[in-house]
Amino acid sequence: MSDLHCKTLTELRGILDSKQISAQELAQHFIRRIQAHDSTLNSFISVTEDAGLLAAQRADEKIAAGQAGALTGIPVAHKDIFCTMGVKTSCGSRMLDNFIAPYNASVVERLNQADTVMLGKTNMDEFAMGSTSESSYYGATKNPWDTQAVPGGSSGGSAAAIAAGLTPIATGTDTGGSIRQPAAYCGITGLKPTYGRVSRFGMIAYASSLDQGGPMARSAEDCALLLNVMAGFDARDSTSSEQASEDYTAQLNLDLTGLKIGLPREYFGAGLDVGVAQAIDAAISELRKLGAEVREVSLPNSELAIPAYYVIAPAEASSNLSRFDGVRFGHRCDAPKDLTDLYERSRAEGFGDEVKRRIMIGTYALSSGYYDAYYLKAQRVRRLIADDFQRVLSEVDVIMGPVTPSVAPNLGESLKDPVAMYLSDIYTVPVNLAGLPAISIPVGFAHNRPVGLQVIGKAFAESRLLNIAHRFQQATDWHRQTPPAFK
């Protein structure tokens, strides 16, 4: 069976349970693919072959004993933002290049308990700050569809690894689009759950009022299976939602007849690439055929989202990243002459350019005399944006539009002008500010690069989003496409 990397989780479950192959053979298949292809893609920071094979052996014992769960023996890759006990957890930064996590993130713990097999840790923008995965201390990840292109970011390593068949599923995190945008650029499926749905314990913080972990996979059904394990209340995360989680596969097959879709006119205006618009239009037509009703809606404050985000996220980041001081863990400069020198040089050496920019913007916005003009103002704008969504989502079931205004740019392009890169997140950032769930699904190609459709739902409507995505994927095969160089 040489096409194991193209199978869905349901197919892999059948193959493992019927003993056609063992979990160890399955893990070896993916490890061989990582060895063969990742020198081209650079989607992994660490590969945990030995620990993975040991976990696969334990999974085989469970399967033999008839105790297999939905994910027993399924290989997984974790974004290097999730703490993994005994394994380097770098967050893509020189600051944490020497950091071996002393505990597991709740998400990792849950997936370990579900008998998944960790293949390694995926590459990412440094501290999840970026939209291209180029700001990693470990070098840029490449897009499997075109190695001249970026995979998106910040969860670019996870997206590229799935698209290239180096892992069937992966974890990601999304603060302003970091699951959905790389999913769109790499032609895979990625879900940002409602804020508070997935525990942030052990997930290195960037902007705490926006950060949310979520599943990335080859299909909506696989995302649902992964979310089933990731989601749920966690007492160790003070912002974890106490709302009961669900079986996210239960409603996958619901009929879409009568589904009300809102298309915000602000998501289809100037700046949207014509090829992307055509792919989105075709996807909406397909959903009409499946019984959905479509109407135009308006989210009038959308264009204020990026300005507000670039106050709120950096402000929270400047506070969160103050813990990296060269004293208790992480990088320390050589021969500091006093304590201030220790702090200032350790941080200057440990952080890259984009992280420094955001820390400085955040420090400025929170500094004496500027708080009201920046941080408080941004929080008021945030309310306007959230209110827009609430109003529209009382009229329609879901909001749809493109994930990004254009397809994946070439490597290097976004490094020239940070502000231009920020604007590429215009359709994803508002969703984080409102704390809502949204999914990115592949719906075709433009300029030979993948295009993603975004479906935004009401708070805790993950099941509905997965249902819509699954029905679409039952009727189409965009999610089954694989990059020719990684067959």
């Binding site: 264009e303 208790r328 500091p336 929080q379």
Partner: protein
């Protein structure tokens, strides 16, 4: 420019992050660009709008005031840059 090179030095110090002299101009330009973007917020009048600190308007959950953590000093200090007898070492602060 919204941020001058002098302000960059001041912000960098507040953030306890040294900036190379050669990079100050570039950061002044980059930060000014970002603040230019941010100032688009001024297009809208937000007087009277309640600031939104948290997406779901949740309250901070409190827990019982009891010890739940075990002592992991050795584990947690294992990757510290410099420790001695269970203490983190830093350069001398008081002469």
């Amino acid at each position: 420019m919204l941020i001058t090179p002098n302000e960059v030095m001041k912000i960098a110090h507040l953030a306890r992050m040294s900036v190379d002299h050669d990079d100050v101009e570039r950061y002044a330009k980059d930060l000014s660009g970002i603040l230019g973007l941010v100032e688009q917020m001024n297009q809208v009048d937000v007087r009277g709008i309640e600031p939104m600190a948290h997406p779901l308007d949740m309250c901070q959950r409190l827990r019982a005031d009891v010890v739940t953590e075990v002592n992991q000093r050795d584990t947690l200090q294992a990757h510290a840059p410099a420790v001695e007898r269970g203490l983190f070492l830093v350069p001398k602060v008081i002469e």
